[in-house]
């Protein structure tokens, strides 16, 4: 697709003075790629845009018309579904539940993981690296392994169907990755900084709080965005380990049996459930990508 880079072993000065013609040729060969990318990009937006436009249709309209009809008939669009949803106690309370679980499921694992990561990075104890590898190994235990026993245990302990029990489940399964990521970041902190603090007589707790945590903030931010979105988007844990404590995903799920007739609730509720993660994603994109790359490439 690129004839522009055909074998023209031009001496470099000529390349420097690459004329308008050459640049034009290169630009033209790039055009198909540009066009393809524009089309792919637009196609990628369609499902999200479609969901949003569907959420603006009444149930009757949505059952007879596709969302794209709004383009030719803008009067079909209405925010009635949204006002209905915000007056629907089930949905609003499920949003509150989601917020609670997501915040708890982010803060607790980060605190716990930061402590452990510090120990793995900067404290000396027998079998340290071996234990660390074991923790990494837990990374791939599917959470399905814990659903049945925790269902029974939660019932026995009487904490079934509570926000705390969901938060703790997310915490535990978030820990291996969080420890892995934070330990790898902490170990990159210059040793001199810690040694200086130790010589000044600071305790390990103090070093952790005053030196390592502030320096580890970028990694913690990346992790926080990651864990928050992960917990926010959960379906299976809440679906299994709760009845009344419904986050938004479970609330939508309970409407799915009548997909067609409940579309005026399903579509706007689904879109609302996307808004917070998307906002976080756009606001902290850099951290998000860092967290991702740390998890995938490191």
């Amino acid at each position: 697709m690129t004839t522009a880079t055909a074998p023209t072993p031009a001496p470099s000065p000529a390349a420097e003075r690459e004329g308008l013609g050459a640049r034009l040729v290169r630009g033209l060969t790039r055009t198909p790629v540009q066009v393809a990318l524009v089309i792919i990009g637009l196609l990628w937006l369609v499902p999200t845009v479609g969901l949003f436009l569907t959420s603006l249709l009444s149930a009757e309209e949505a059952s007879s018309n596709g969302w794209w009809r709004i383009f030719s008939e803008p009067s079909l669009a209405t925010f009635d579904n949204y006002s209905d949803i915000f007056n629907n106690d089930d949905i609003t309370s499920s949003l509150v539940t989601t917020v609670i679980i997501a915040i708890g499921g982010t803060v607790i694992p980060i605190v716990v993981a930061a402590l452990a990561a510090y120990a793995f990075a900067w404290l000396d104890f027998p079998g340290r690296d071996w234990v660390f590898v074991l923790v990494i190994g837990l990374l791939v235990v599917p959470l399905q392994m814990a659903l049945i026993p925790m269902f029974s245990l939660y019932n026995d302990l009487g904490i079934f169907d509570t926000e705390l029990s969901l938060i703790l489940f997310h915490t535990a399964f978030g820990l291996p990755f969080a420890i892995f990521l934070l330990r790898n970041f902490f170990i990159g902190i210059p040793k001199e900084l810690l040694e200086a603090a130790r010589l000044d007589g600071a305790s390990e707790w103090r070093i952790f709080a005053r030196v390592v945590l502030p320096l580890g903030l970028p990694a913690i931010a990346a992790l926080a965005v990651f864990q928050f979105i992960w917990t926010w988007n959960d379906l299976i844990v809440a679906l299994t380990l709760a009845r009344e404590t419904q986050p938004i995903t479970v609330a939508i799920f309970s409407q799915l049996r009548q997909f067609g007739s409940n579309i005026d609730l399903i579509a706007p509720a689904s879109f609302i459930s996307m808004v917070i993660p998307l906002a976080l994603f756009f606001a902290f994109q850099r951290y998000f990508v860092q967290g991702l790359l740390a998890g995938a490439v490191k």
Binding site: A119, A121, L138, L175, I236, L293
Partner: protein, 445 residues
């Protein structure tokens, strides 16, 4: 005062160990305190349940009787469970490779444009939304009705452009004088010149009646010709079939065909009031009717959410979510490639394809492997998207291992023994990947 525990990894510095047992114990206690919360959580929520589930998988539904490997053989003898295993194999065979390939293509292409950040943002965005909500979006996209499902609307418009549907797709004969034959609608009896032909149709959709249609008029017989009318034989309140009545409109633009006894044929098109006329006909019996092209139905759309295509539908949605992840990770790897190596190859006369095939891909191999393995793990555990995309009626056909586990254990039968066995199967499938990951980690240390 300070604990001398600075023997962290990279350079194995000889640590000055000035004190004896007391200090060691205190170091150990400090480390223990830092590790304790994580240890408790991991032990109670991951290690204990894992052991429990493995043991539980050898017991029956209620957990009273030891049943050996019965639960495991059940997985491979029960049709629905077996189906979920084979479905998951399809996922494993298709998705990681496809996602990695798409990510590679996107990453390489975006290197060539200046606005790559915008493209990456758009394609990467679905990773932030829940798989469940993504599944809902695609369930709307893939609706079988082209009026509602965007994918089928697109497919239908292409198919209909190649083979256009007729102007009157749903029409039926209104009375006994008119009958259908092989998609066409024709007069039941032959007509002769001087007679009139009444082709009454019902079931004509309101949208299919042209705007310029006028009140139908019963034609006058003509000497040596056949006059007739094609009309919508339906008026509010019903009306009498086969009779042209007030409020019944003619159907303009319909092609009427006439065939003589000798096989010769003529055709004409109806006027605004639905009337048509064949003139100058020799005496004889004629067959008269409207060809099947007029009634050919539009393409009805692909049944994405039906039992045979549902797994493909879920996979499409899943790839939409994850392609951006692959692209971003591979693009990061691409950015880290030594530019001068690529430039050197180009200067040596390699074309873009050769550079890509012989240099870029081999150098990227480690990154591609990471993406592939990550997707492999994800795909084995796929759950939410199937639950969202597949309607309840086809969930047996769409089922995957994780979904079957949940359905067996927490809906209907509540079979914890079988559910545990399915979980263990999932775990066993993931273990080779775990070993691979630990090896990779060890190498990096």
């Amino acid at each position: 005062m300070g604990t001398d525990s600075v023997t962290a990894s990279p350079p194995p510095a000889p640590s000055p160990e000035p004190a004896g047992g007391g200090r060691r114990l205190r170091d150990l206690m400090t480390a223990g305190a830092f590790l304790a919360p994580a240890a408790v959580l991991l032990a109670v929520w991951i290690v204990y349940p894992t052991v429990w589930t493995v043991i539980r998988s050898f017991f029956d539904r209620a957990g009273d009787a030891f049943v050996g490997i019965d639960n495991y053989s059940e997985i491979f003898s029960n049709d629905t469970l077996l189906k979920s295993v084979t479905n998951n194999l399809i996922w494993v065979a298709v998705v990681p490779a496809l996602v990695t390939a798409l990510g590679l293509i996107f990453a390489v292409l975006t290197e060539r444009v200046t606005w790559s950040a915008a493209f990456k943002l758009v394609v990467f965005m679905p990773i932030a939304i829940s798989l469940f909500a993504a599944g809902i979006s695609w369930r709307i996209m893939l609706d079988v009705d082209p009026q509602r499902g965007a994918v089928n609307a697109a497919i239908t418009s292409v198919v209909d452009a190649i083979e256009p549907p007729g102007p009157l797709t749903g029409a039926q004969p209104s009375g006994a004088e008119v009958e259908t034959s092989g998609g066409a609608i024709a007069l039941a009896d032959p007509v002769q010149p001087g007679q009139t032909a009444l082709l009454g149709l019902t079931g004509v959709r309101a949208a299919e009646v042209p705007d310029d249609a006028q009140q139908a008029v019963r034609p006058e017989p003509a000497e040596g010709g056949i006059n007739g009318v094609v009309w919508r034989d339906f008026s509010p309140g019903g009306g009498e079939p086969g009779v042209v009545e007030p409020d019944e409109v003619g159907l303009p633009g319909v092609t009427v065909e006439l065939r003589g006894a000798g096989g010769e044929s003529r055709s004409t098109t109806t006027a605004d009031d639905g009337s048509f006329a064949f003139e100058g006909l020799p005496p004889g019996d004629y067959r008269l009717g409207i060809g099947s092209d007029t009634f050919r139905a539009g393409y009805a759309g692909v049944a994405w959410l039906g039992s045979s295509l549902i797994t493909i539908a879920c996979i499409i949605a899943y790839i939409w979510v994850w392609a951006g992840f692959a692209m971003v990770v591979i693009a990061a790897g691409l950015a880290a490639l030594p530019r001068d190596l690529l430039e050197a190859a180009r200067t040596d006369g390699a074309n873009e394809w050769q550079v890509f095939r012989r240099i870029t891909v081999p150098l990227l191999a480690p990154v591609l492997t990471v993406v592939f393995i990550t997707m492999l793990i994800n795909v084995l555990k796929v759950f939410d998207i199937v639950l969202a995309v597949a309607p309840a009626s086809v969930q047996d056909d769409a089922a995957v291992i994780a979904l079957s586990m949940w359905r067996v254990a927490f809906t209907g039968a509540s079979d914890f023994g079988l559910g545990s066995a399915i979980s263990v199967l999932l775990f066993v499938l993931v273990i080779p990947i775990l070993v691979l990951n630990i090896r990779r980690f060890r190498r990096e240390q």
